[in-house]
Each structure stands twice: as structure tokens, then as C-alpha cells.
């Protein structure tokens, strides 16, 4: 999810609030295909393709006109897109949540080192996440497409002067971003339920990750997501216990969980106050 957003946000210089919608679209595509075929793997593939196609359409119809606009227009237009897509999906699929089943191979838990037991499926998600991160890194640094993307990031006019079809390039980048978001949505959809609005909490989290890491930096997004993950866990698990040392258990639990859920935003605010353009951002 973050990876896809970084790609769009950083490389294309576009604030895309509607990214969460692709996440949702992916999840719904997956649920639909899983319902029709019964295959989880086809569903995952479908989510990727479905979200990417939606991405292409939306890029061509709307997003394309926003690159040269200011941040305000981008924020608003994509905010409007959220309304549009959320309601559109609600229209088609109804307001009830759908469910995706995890295939048998990935069901259950496996023991890890030190007798920590971890669910197979979550491990699978982490694995895919790592694969995507590596894949993106290779794509950006090693392939022709990557070189063009990076060139476009630095100087949009120059590379179009060199004969690269910049608008096609951006459509592709946007589609990759949307597709990855869709895939993420499908994978998470199997743990939670697939419903309208499922992308929004994640979206904000993804923005936090990117802003902490520094806009446009893939390395930043990677480190940002680790930081956010760790902080969040600390906030949820350790803080209530820590506070129990100082106060009554009941108070500590409620206090701890309220502060815990704020912790990543506090982290983001702190980082931005110290480094106004993120950890790895350029000024």
C-alpha cells in the first residue's frame, strides 16, 4: 500500500487521497472473483488487475488534469474521488461487508524461533510485502522504465522533450500504484471484512509513513513503515503495561490505549518538527 502510494506521491508529485479507494476496489474485485471461481489465487490476481484498470481509467479521465495544479486542488479532487468511488462501490455491491476466505495452505500458525507462534497468513503478507519492495526497487533502479520514471521525477519537460511519452508513462506508474494498493486491499480483506471505507484508516497510515520517510523516497517509505509499525505496537501493547506501574490498572488500560493510538501521529509531528521535510526528504 505504502509502496504504491510512494510511487504516485513521490514520483508524480501528486497527492492522492483516493489511493485508499483502489485498496477498496482491489478487495471488492477479489471478493467478487473468489465468489465466482472459489480460487483465492485468482482473486489476488484479479484484485491487482482490477485496481490497475480502475487506476488507468481514473488517471486518464481525471488525474491527468491535476498534475500541474496546486496541492489544494489535488487534495480536494481526490477527496471528491473518494466520495465518488466509495458510493459507487456501495451502489454496486451494497452496504454489507463481504468476506474472503484464506486458502487452506495458509491457514493455521507455524512456530518461529524462540517458540513464537505466528499465523501463516500474516507471514505470507509480510513475505509478499518484502517481495514487492524489492521488486519496486529493482524496477526503479534497474529497468528502462525505472530510469524514465526517475528522469520524469527530476524534470518533466526535459524527458518529454527527449521523446518519451510522459503522459503514457504516468498512466503506467499510476496503474502500478493502484494495482499494488488493490493487491494489498485483497490480502487484508481476507483477514478483515471487505467493506466500503476500509481503505481510509490505512490511507492515513500510509500518508504518515510517507511523510515520515520523506516524500518521494522509497528508502524513506520503507524505514517509515518499520518505524510506524514498531511505534504502533509499542503504543498498543507496552504503553498500557508501562502505565500500570504508575496508576490503577483500569485507568492505565484506558489511558494507555488512548495515548497508544495517538502515538504514531505524535511520532510524525515530532519528526516533522525536527526535520520539516521528513527523514530522507529533499528540501
Amino acid at each position: 500500500m505504502s509502496a504504491g502510494l510512494t510511487l504516485i506521491f513521490g514520483v508524480m508529485g501528486l497527492i492522492n487521497l483516493a489511493h485508499g479507494s483502489f485498496y477498496m476496489i482491489g478487495a471488492f474485485c477479489a471478493a467478487l472473483i473468489a465468489g465466482l471461481t472459489g480460487s483465492f489465487w485468482l482473486a489476488l490476481l484479479g484484485s491487482l488487475i482490477g485496481a490497475a484498470i480502475a487506476g488507468v481509467l481514473i488517471e486518464i479521465i481525471i488525474i491527468r488534469r491535476l498534475y500541474r495544479r496546486d496541492h489544494l486542488d489535488q487534495v480536494l479532487a481526490t477527496f471528491a474521488l473518494i466520495l465518488l468511488l466509495s458510493e459507487g462501490v456501495r451502489w454496486i455491491f451494497g452496504a454489507f461487508p463481504l468476506y474472503l476466505n484464506i486458502p487452506n495452505i495458509l491457514n493455521g500458525s507455524i512456530p518461529l524461533v524462540f517458540e513464537i507462534i505466528y499465523s501463516k497468513y500474516r507471514l505470507f503478507i509480510i513475505l509478499i510485502g518484502l517481495l514487492i519492495a524489492i521488486g519496486l526497487y529493482l524496477l526503479i533502479t534497474k529497468t528502462r522504465l525505472g530510469i524514465r520514471i526517475r528522469a520524469g521525477q527530476n524534470d518533466r519537460q526535459m524527458i518529454s522533450a527527449l521523446g518519451v511519452d510522459i503522459s503514457k508513462l504516468y498512466t503506467i506508474v499510476f496503474a502500478i500504484g493502484a494495482g499494488l494498493a488493490g493487491l494489498a486491499g485483497a490480502m487484508i480483506g481476507a483477514i478483515q471484512s471487505v467493506e466500503v471505507g476500509m481503505g481510509e484508516p490505512i490511507l492515513i497510515l500510509a500518508f504518515v509513513v510517507i511523510v515520515i520517510g520523506g516524500i518521494g523516497s522509497i528508502k524513506g517509505a520503507f524505514i517509515g513503515s518499520i518505524l510506524v509499525g514498531v511505534t504502533d505496537t509499542i503504543g498498543r501493547v507496552f504503553l498500557p503495561n508501562l502505565l500500570k506501574v504508575f496508576m490503577e490498572p483500569a485507568n492505565a488500560t484506558s489511558m494507555g490505549s488512548s495515548i497508544g493510538s495517538m502515538l504514531i501521529y505524535i511520532l510524525m509531528a515530532l519528526i516533522l518538527i525536527m526535520k520539516p521535510s521528513g527523514l530522507f526528504g529533499k528540501n
Binding site: V75, F79, A80, L84, V208, V211, S254, S258, I259, L272
Partner: protein, 327 residues
């Protein structure tokens, strides 16, 4: 072509005629709706000062709207239950008197915007948008998981807060109270915009570098307008709680920030009455389309996108194209 001044007179006419119609047709619901428009309009007017005139794209104005709302609810919750609000450094009781609650809501949201402004205004561009969002989200999650005041379920107050000698439960009375706050906030904005200070913050939107080079402390200017902006939105939040006699974390949600922004943009950015028109349009759309289809927000999204892509001056811009400070 209708001039903006002429248009504004019509707005006042409508504002006065609406409750009368409501009375004549015995439909108090319409008065309540109109009150909602006014309150949301005030919130938008607050944001418009920062966003429209000074170019500070705050995606976190829900924080101020919400804190104003929560201050109001908490004060009256304690007043109703006769509990002590704080016992340190001296006993402070809740209150259900609007004359106490308003200044408090304004002060606390001003203080909050001072803190948020001090921290956020060090950044700019996308980072500013995101850091204001982060602060609002912080409060949102705090309100959800803080159980004392209802947590996720929100907090109901059974009686609308009171004003001496007035029955605030009467829809018309409450409408007029809100209307007077609306005119006050429009008057304050008008005065600000046409003052030397107003010149400074409007110049910052256009060319901050230049404003610095003529020796104006842009940080202070931005901070002050951000605080004023937050205070006005906070007041709106307070009124909103009294309107619904209920407050919940959803007023602190990022979608609330987005909606306040939508009022400003739909109505016409950097126009005195723009946010009011935007809020009115929003509510009318919700009521009319909402009656036909559950998915009215789909059409709202569509209208918004069309506006941003093609008619960037907002509803008021359709009538009055010549505007000095328009985008």
C-alpha cells in the same frame, strides 16, 4: 453579471426569510436545517481565513471544530451531573450557560490552534497539509479511546445550553443566536481582510518570499491568522454540539476537515460569503438528493470534481467573475 455585493444582499434576505417560511408552514425542521447551514458556514468562514486568504492549506480544522464541540459537551455534562470538572488548583464546575461556554470554546480552540500552528507552520506545502491532518487524527483517536466522555459512542447532553432570558430550545431562538454569530464572524473577517494585517496575510498567499523581504514577520502573521481561524471554527463546533445536543468523535474525523474544506471550495475560495453558500449547497444536496438515493455523496463527489477541473471559482464565481484576489 451580478456583483458580489448584490449577491450578498440576497443571501441576507434568504437568511431572514427562511425561518419565517419555516414558521408559516409550521416546519421547524427547516429552521433546524438552516441553523445547521449557518453553523457549518461559520466553520467554513473560519477555515477560509487561513486557507482562502492566507493560503494555509489546513487539513486539520476538524480538530478545532471538534474541540469546540467537546468543550461545550463536557462543560454541560458536568453541569447537568453536578460534578466537579477539575479539583485542581481550585474547584471548577461545569456550566450550561452559553455566555461561559462560548468564550471558553473560543479560548481553548484558539489555544489549540496556537500550539498546532507553532509546530506546523515550520513546515510548508504537502508537509503542512499532512501535519495538520496528523494533529486532528491524534485528537480523533484520543476521543475514541478516552472512555470518560463516551469514547466512540459520543456524549449526549439532554438540554441545550442556556442563555439568560431566552429559551434556546426554541428552534427559532437558536437560529437567531447562530445568525448573530454568523454576522459577527463575517464582520470580523471583513474587518480583518481590509486591515493592514489583512493585506499582509493575503500577500503571503501570493508571494511569501517578497513579504519577508519587506521586513514583515511572516511566521507571526501566519500564526495569528491561523489562531483566529481556529477560534472561529471552534466556536462553530460549540454551536454544532448545542444544535445536535450530542457530540461524537466523528466531528474530529478527517472527513470533517475535508467537508469544511469542501464548503470553502464549493462556495468560492477567498470570498466572504463563499463558505456559507458552500455549506448551504452541501445541505441542500444532502436533503434533496438524499431523499432519492442513499448514494448522494456520489453526486457530490462528481460535482466537486467537475468544479475543480472546470469552474475553479466556486458557486459565487459563476455570478461574479471579477474578483481581485481570486485564485
Amino acid at each position: 453579471m451580478i456583483s458580489e455585493q448584490f449577491f450578498n444582499k440576497w443571501i441576507w434576505f434568504l437568511l431572514l426569510i427562511t425561518p419565517i417560511c419555516g414558521l408559516i408552514f409550521d416546519e421547524p425542521y427547516y429552521i433546524t436545517l438552516a441553523t445547521k447551514v449557518i453553523i457549518l458556514g461559520i466553520a467554513g468562514i473560519g477555515l477560509n481565513l487561513a486557507l482562502g486568504y492566507c493560503g494555509l492549506i489546513s487539513f486539520g480544522h476538524a480538530a478545532f471544530f471538534g474541540i469546540g464541540g467537546y468543550v461545550t459537551a463536557i462543560m454541560s455534562y458536568h453541569a447537568i451531573n453536578n460534578e466537579i470538572l477539575f479539583s485542581w488548583p481550585f474547584d471548577i464546575f461545569g456550566s450550561s450557560d452559553m455566555l461561559i461556554i462560548w468564550p471558553l470554546a473560543i479560548l481553548i480552540s484558539a489555544f489549540l490552534s496556537l500550539i498546532i500552528g507553532l509546530l506546523s507552520l515550520r513546515t510548508s506545502g504537502v508537509y503542512f497539509i499532512m501535519i495538520t491532518l496528523a494533529f486532528a487524527q491524534m485528537l480523533y483517536f484520543f476521543s475514541i479511546s478516552w472512555p470518560n466522555y463516551g469514547g466512540e459512542d459520543g456524549l449526549s447532553i439532554y438540554m441545550r445550553n442556556s442563555l439568560p432570558m431566552l429559551n434556546t430550545m426554541n428552534p427559532l431562538t437558536f437560529y437567531l443566536i447562530c445568525l448573530s454569530w454568523l454576522s459577527t464572524s463575517i464582520y470580523v473577517s471583513y474587518k480583518l481582510i481590509n486591515s493592514p494585517f489583512g493585506m499582509a496575510f493575503q500577500a503571503i498567499k501570493q508571494n511569501e518570499e517578497r513579504v519577508k523581504s519587506v521586513g514583515i514577520e511572516t511566521f507571526k502573521v501566519k500564526l495569528l491568522i491561523f489562531v483566529i481561524s481556529g477560534a472561529i471554527t471552534g466556536l462553530a463546533g460549540s454551536l454544532y454540539t448545542d444544535l445536535n445536543r450530542f457530540v461524537s468523535p466523528s466531528v474530529l474525523d478527517w472527513q470533517t476537515s475535508g467537508e469544511i474544506m469542501v464548503f470553502v471550495i464549493l462556495g468560492g475560495i477567498a470570498r466572504l460569503y463563499g463558505p456559507l453558500i458552500g455549506a448551504a449547497f452541501f445541505i441542500i444536496l444532502e436533503q434533496t438528493l438524499g431523499a432519492y438515493t442513499e448514494n448522494w455523496q456520489f453526486w457530490l463527489g462528481l460535482i466537486l470534481i467537475l468544479e475543480i477541473l472546470y469552474a475553479r471559482t466556486g458557486i459565487m464565481g459563476l455570478f461574479d467573475k471579477k474578483k481581485k484576489y481570486e485564485k
